[in-house]
Subunit: 327 residues, 2 copies
């Protein structure tokens, strides 16, 4: 099987919304009048973003999910994506699994594969995703204002916990590991929430490298500071329930590490004026995902963590950096 058969068999489907899909020099998209095109690109590398033995269907899902998560963070509706794929060799069962996982998530979001590239090389997956958002309505990192509430969607830290367990740093009950691993390997992009938050959130991003590090980007872009309630945040680790059920306490240091700086959460962190609390909760109900208020934006530069009593937390764990150095 050559390059062109591979593309035809696993990655070519008729264009639906796109003017032109896979098979020419370029794909053609026709954005609707008044719409801006939101674009994001993520590259996944074996050993850095996934294990060599990961289920290919899960990898296909995740490769697109992390890109859809960026569209969600901007409040953009997914339209299409391109896939560039370097493969050590043509492994048909792997390709069948990968494309099935990829295209299932794509179909769920009406996001069609319109082009890309395949080549031989160390396994590398690069997806570029396109969404549309009405002009001026994109959720940006730069809109947070002093006095805004800070929220995060869903749960936090379970993906990191799964990683720690897979590395043998912590032991989890089998069912807890399975649930956490699902969060690591099959993240859910919060597309519906991003859309529902347009006109409500003052800023947003997706939590991919760890909550505090990622929130730092909002603070920097908005020229503000923030105080976060670490106690409220530590409640967001789903796996805590397994420890509570077994009568044991979750190791506190690991709890902070996972929830504050875990990485791979793909939840939305966002800010909204305090006057919009009801609108935020209505958006969350509409999108079918809980959101939790975790802090407040203020005018003092920097990010402060306080415990349940409002006392400063001594140490802040480092966020994930793709070159292995702490930020």
């Amino acid at each position: 099987m050559g390059e062109f058969d591979l593309i035809a068999r696993y990655f070519t489907r008729p264009a639906r919304q796109a003017v032109l899909g896979v098979g020419d020099d370029c794909a053609l998209l026709a954005p609707r009048p008044g719409m801006q095109l939101a674009i994001s690109s993520d590259m996944l590398v074996q050993g850095r973003h996934f294990f060599a033995d990961v289920d290919p269907a899960a990898l296909g899902h995740k490769a697109l999910a992390v890109n859809l998560s960026d569209l969600a963070a901007c409040g953009a509706r997914p339209l299409a994506f391109t896939l560039a794929l370097a493969l050590p060799q043509i492994d048909e069962p792997w390709l069948a699994g990968f494309s099935a996982g990829l295209l299932a998530l794509a179909d769920e979001h009406g996001c069609e594969l319109v082009g890309g590239d395949t080549t031989q090389g160390p396994l590398n997956i690069c997806i570029t995703v396109f969404g549309e958002v009405p002009a001026g309505q994109a959720l940006l990192r730069s809109g947070a204002r002093a006095g805004d509430d800070i929220y995060v969607s869903g749960t936090l830290g379970d993906a990191r916990l799964a990683l720690e367990a897979l590395f043998g740093h912590v032991e989890l009950p089998a069912a807890a590991l399975q649930a956490a691993r699902q969060r690591l390997e099959r993240p859910t992009p919060r597309v519906a929430l991003g859309l529902a938050l347009r006109g409500i959130a003052s800023s947003a991003l997706d939590v991919s490298d760890g909550l505090t590090g990622d929130l730092g980007h909002i603070l920097k872009a908005s020229g503000v500071g923030a105080t976060l309630d670490a106690a409220a945040i530590s409640q967001l680790l789903a796996a805590r329930a397994w420890f509570a059920a077994g009568g044991s306490q979750f190791p506190p240091e690991l709890l902070h590490q996972c929830t504050l700086a875990g990485g791979d959460d793909y939840e939305l962190a966002f800010t909204a004026p305090a006057a919009r609390r009801e609108a935020v909760q209505a958006a969350a109900r509409q999108a079918g995902v809980p959101v939790t208020r975790i802090g407040t934006v203020d005018g003092t530069p920097g990010l402060r963590l306080v415990d349940g009593q409002g006392l400063p937390l001594a140490q802040r764990p480092a966020s994930f950096d793709h070159f292995g150095t702490s930020q």
Copy 2:
């Protein structure tokens, strides 16, 4: 230096045409009314597309050039691109060279870097490029009709010849090698020609994997066949002049291999009605690149090569396939 410093130092410049550039979850483009967005993505892998010791500035140039070449083939005007980059380690001199070569070509075409990704991993460069083309005016592979002329721009085969010389399969005078190597390492995307051919060419693509294999895509998409003049095509190897000057003949088999199936040419191959010959030449003059008529589209499926006397050429060299098998 971490991921974010790297992006800030080498790949962040203020957005010009884009609504939003590097630094948020997504970039935002606002296509003009009546315009379609042309999108193409190419992934370059060390050992497959370039040598480990290639000049990083040339590599930066080429990584964008091969993508701009796809826009050229569609008659699209370059707007913006994203860059995803996997690097074994942060090597600042390499990054400085790479980004200089990349951004110089980007500036030449008014094509701005709006986003992307960086990560640690085996060297891999994935660029996705965006251009605009008036609705319905994109040059496609599917428009060739029986009776159309077939053209190719510029010169053919010198990139492949450089590769053969670098592998030690052929010996070239130093100046000839230097010229051929320039074609391999710093291809010129024929953007102006693609724009000038809108409304004139009936089909087009860029020659990246070898002329005959690539033309096969046009024939298949258009449901036609073609006859090519191998003698006219063999004139298009620029390096022939060096051999002629030295009084020696270029090895005929290598000549056909390089011009008919060389790869890495990044010239435009296109078809146009015979009635538009003057318009084609006017477009070529406007774009400042010669185009040569090399054959005719007909209704008989398949691609036939004839020599200067119109007699069939016995053997057709195989095109390049990114998984190393012949097509």
